[in-house]
Every structure is written in C-alpha cells, then in structure tokens.
Subunit: 345 residues, 2 copies
C-alpha cells in the first residue's frame, strides 16, 4: 500500500459513468457487504448522465480524449481520497492504461489492463489478427483490402472503430455492400455469423489468472446492448474465457468477449472489451462478484479461489426495463466548483 | 356503474405491458394514494416481459391480432374483477377500440379512443391527410405516388405502418432514397424536418375535453424512445394539443403527438398516438396524473378542472437508465394455468 488509507473507508470512482446506474449500485452494495464506509464518486463529461445525480459526489470532467483529462481525474482522486478507479467506456481505456502507473503512485488502483491488451481490444482489425495468431476462432473479415470476387452474403458492414452497434449495416448482396462501403467512414466487412450470440463476462486477477467466467445468451438486444439475457454454464465458452484472459498480455479486471456459438460447436469471437460489459449486472446477480474482487485487489489482496470459476447460477435471467432519475433543469447547470455532493445511491 | 364493484378495491389490467414497469408502478402508486386496495394485472404474449414478473397477477395471452385475443382478455377481466384496461401498444388499439362496448357491458372501462380516432392515428398517411384537413401543420410526405422531380433532400424513408423508429432511413440524395425505397416494405417518404423535436402527452376526458397537455423536448433518443427529456411549458404546443384532442372524434384517455417546432414557430406534427407515450412517466413526475383521471373515469367521475391544464412543473428533466428484474429460467416456462400470482410492484 503506497498510501495511508483511512481505516474502514473506501472510495470508488466510476469514470464516464453515464447511465451505468446498476454498476454504481453494485459497487455501493458490495462496499456495504464488506463493512466499509463506502463512497461512490462519478466523473462524467455530461451533467445529464443519470449516475451524476445518484453518486455521493459527481464531477464534470473534460472528454476523455482531451489532454487535460488525466490531470482532472487525478485531482478528483486527491480531493476525494479515491482508492479504485473503474473505467467504463472504450475510448477512455487507452488513456487509463497509459496512466495507470501514475495513478498507482498516488495509491489509486485503476481497473484496466495493460496498454498492449487495450490496443488489441480497441481495434477490430487488431483483435482479429491477434485472435488468429493465438488460435482463437474468429469471424472472417476484410478491411482496407480488395474484397475477393466471391463473398458469402449476407455480410455485415460496420465502422472499424465503432461501438454499441452504431452504423452497423447488413448487406444481402454486392450492390448493398458497395452502397454501405461508400457511406461508412473507415468501414470493414464481416461475414454474418449464424448460431447463438453469447457474451462472456470474465474477471482476470492481477496475476493474470481468470477467476470467473459467466457466459450469457443474448436473448434480445436494444440499442446494441443486451436487454434480455440468460446465464448458461457452457464449459467450452468458460474455457475460452480462461484461455483468452491468460493469453492477453497483462489483462486485469472485468472484461468480456462476444461470440457466436455455431451448430458446429465452435465459438467464433467477434470482439473483446477490456471493461465491464453493459450486461455485467446479470453475471453479478448470478453470483460472480467482480466489484468485490476489484476492491480486494485495491487493498492488496489477491483473489485466488479456483471454486469461484463456476460458483454462479445457471439459468439466471435478466429482463431489463427503463427506470429514470428526475431532476430540475437548473440542476443540470454547472455550479462554480463543478461538483455536486448530495447524491444517493 | 353497470356492475357491482367491491367497495375499496380497484383492479387495473395493463395490456401488452412488456417493459412498461414505470407505468405499472405509477398506477400502483396512484391507487395507493387514492386509498384503494389496488391490484395490477398484466396481460402479455410473452413471459419474458419484465412487467410479467412484477404485477400482482400475470397472464400469457395470444398476440393481439389473434382472433382469440379479445375473449382471452375478457376472461381475465371476469376472473380478476378488472375495472380498467390500459392498452399500451399501437397494434392492439384497433382491437380494443372495436371491443370497448362489449368490455363496457361487463363493467370494464377500456382507456381507448373511438375506432375512427384510432384509425387516424394508426396509419401515417391517414394521420397526414386528417391533419391537413383540420388545419394542423404537418410534414410533407409521399406514399404510393410518383415522387415529384424536385425533392428537397435529405428525406426520411420509412415503413408506412412502422413504429419505434424501426426501419427508418435517412437519404441524402436520390440514389440513396431509391435504394431504401426498394428495400423497405410499404415505404413512404417524408421531408426531414429541422427544429426541436417535442412530444406532447395529453389527456382527453370522456366528454372530449383536453384536461392536461405536457410538452417535453426530446434531448436524447434511444431505440426510438426518449431517454433524456425535459418538460417545457410552451403555450403554443399546449394549445395544439387542446385543439387536436378536441378535433379527434371521440378521443379518450392518455394520448400524445410528436412534432418538430421550427424556427418559424410552427409545430409540424409527425405522428399521433392513441395511448400512453413511452416518455409519459416524465409528465407524471412533472405533476400530470393521467392514471388518477383514468381511475376516476372508471368510477364514473368526470375530470373537469381547467386548472389541471398547466398545473405541472416546467423544466422537469428525466434521465433514463436500465434497471432489470432477475428471474430463474424455469419461471419463464408456462405453468398449467398460464398464470403467475406472486408478483410485487
């Protein structure tokens, strides 16, 4: 422990927390279970983030790609005595990966993998080549190269660096494909996979061991995120998560991958995310307590219990709906010190 | 009152309730406020509807276009002593409008407008011509006719009978428009409106009087539904709602319209919905208690207080996030009697 931590207190900073209210609450709940006087701090570039109005303290920060972002977050850590930073969006991961040592020297653990692993996750073309090199089945893709004369339609045309299904188009024939290729910025083409779509949320310890892996079937998707899902204790998918987490260089924390499990039993991986998946609350409700393990890691305790790996409920089903926080318009206008301290999780 | 109602009890049936958990809770809360021993019953074609697992009783019913649907709902009404049916999805509105008299003869009020009004709302081409005939500004559209040689791009190409933004495409030029026209079933073309997008939730009494009208600006939309919105006390939009509700033949209950308010101050209406809007909970939190007025209507009391019209808070902001209900997979399998009675709102 490089810093003196106040006995019994623990502060989590949820970064770019946006609408991840469920995740905020899970950390809050876990801190209570562990007997901590816990505090949840939110950093977001927008005051209309629902989490902004529910945390103990909320700070408006520059967008994560702004050069002043790391310093702004460091200032919050000092002011609030933050012990653990949990990044949540893809674009901020490289920034946190690049700065995790400077946060560590202030006694703050950042729940992020190494830069190398984040670089692999962030770019669908790098993901694809890394998966191929390491013997993981993946989806055939073309990007920036002339397409072969025979392409098995339908195909998916999407932005190379996109996320949350934004700009994803399905082309049934060459005419449609070429139409979308002309209109999507930095596009790539993938074969449309058949089979059942799964997300596997997994947790990698600081020693690079995969502590837990929870596959869930995506029964229904809304705006690119699972809205109905069910956990499935599928040994093959869990083993894939184990191999993946151990093969990625210095992976750490909550991660997930998405795949299609074909009738041939092969799980073809389409993407890897180096952060909490949007559907992670389902894995938590099934029994996989990633927030606890991150808090333990920040306290210097290594999680190393092999029974955790499948210590969660099969068939746990999540059915999502909208809830909301209601605020007055005036609460969205920035006060002088860019902070609001009256939240409640 | 055609039936003997049990003193102090009131039962609401939320039809095709799906993920409308907030609406379910608002009715539950309102019944409590009114001092009723209230019960919330859900009918849905799917057991994966989140509301199915939160109501006092839930019934799996055939899809609303199935000929056996009305009888199935009537059976539930008898079994559960339903006082009020609240339809929620566009496709079931014509069915309920056609059968509202047979429900009335059983002592059940259906919160739906006349067939004529529902027919106007259900078809974008009819909506458009009705609005034009009644002097409401609307958006220029073409459907099933040769397009003029000059079309001001960009345009929106969408399915004539679509909802929730499914299949809606934006075309920047003629080539794009023709591409989408070939691919969308029963398509129509609209000019892309500029200005600020508003939804106005309004309530029409049984006498056809518009009791309340609450415009909200759509700050952010997700999967076709408002995810961030703010109420705006805009007199012009409120008056439009009043004229609309009074002009529609025998309109009744919770309704809403969507429009773009241009810099010229003209509100061009794009659609009218004869049901609770997805964003209605915002109007409720601002102070417009439509559930209460529907319950009063079922009790034979007419709501007629002109001060309700603007008795709600300006600048009330809704910031939505996902919550979820977690159930075991086994709970999604139908029991013998197709009913589950252990819910809790």
């Amino acid at each position: 422990m490089p810093t003196v931590r106040q006995q019994g207190k623990f502060t989590v900073l949820l970064s770019s927390a946006g609408r991840r209210v469920a995740l905020l609450r899970l950390f809050c709940q876990t801190l209570k279970h562990l007997g901590f006087e816990g505090r949840l701090v939110v950093a977001d570039s927008s005051r209309t983030a629902p989490t902004f109005h529910l945390a103990n303290s909320s700070f408006q920060v520059p967008p994560c790609l702004d050069p002043s972002f790391p310093q702004a977050v460091l200032d919050i850590c000092r002011r609030e005595g933050v012990d653990l930073i949990v990044p949540t969006i893809d674009t901020e991961l490289p920034v946190y990966a690049a700065h995790r040592d400077s946060f560590a020297s202030e006694g703050v653990l950042v729940a992020v993998s190494s830069q190398e692993t984040i670089d692999i996750c962030r770019d669908k073309v790098r993901t694809h080549s890394w998966l191929g090199e390491h013997g993981f089945p993946t989806v055939e893709q073309w990007c920036g190269v002339p397409l072969p004369s025979y392409v098995p339609f339908p195909v998916i045309v999407k932005p190379r660096h996109g996320s949350a299904s934004v700009g994803v188009c399905r082309a049934q024939d060459r005419e449609e494909m070429e139409f979308y290729l002309r209109r999507i910025k930095d596009p790539m083409v993938e074969i449309e996979l058949t089979g059942i779509e799964y997300t596997v949320n997994f947790y990698v310890s600081r020693k690079g061991r995969v502590v837990s892996a929870v596959p869930h079937q995506r029964m229904e998707v809304r705006a690119g995120e699972v809205s109905k899902g069910v956990t499935v204790k599928h040994g093959g998918l869990m083993e894939t998560a184990r191999r993946l987490g151990e093969a990625l260089p210095q992976a750490f924390g909550a991660m997930n991958f998405q795949c299609f499990l074909g009738v041939d039993g092969v799980a073809r991986i389409t993407e890897i995310n180096g952060r909490f998946g949007g559907g992670y609350p389902l894995a938590y409700h099934a029994g996989a307590d990633f927030p606890r393990w991150l808090i333990e890691a920040a306290l210097g305790r290594e999680v190393d219990r092999p029974e955790y790996f499948d210590q969660w409920d099969d068939g746990c089903t999540m059915l999502r709906y909208d809830d909301a926080v209601y605020v007055k318009k005036s609460e969205l206008e920035p006060p002088n010190d860019r902070v609001r301290q009256s939240g409640h999780v």
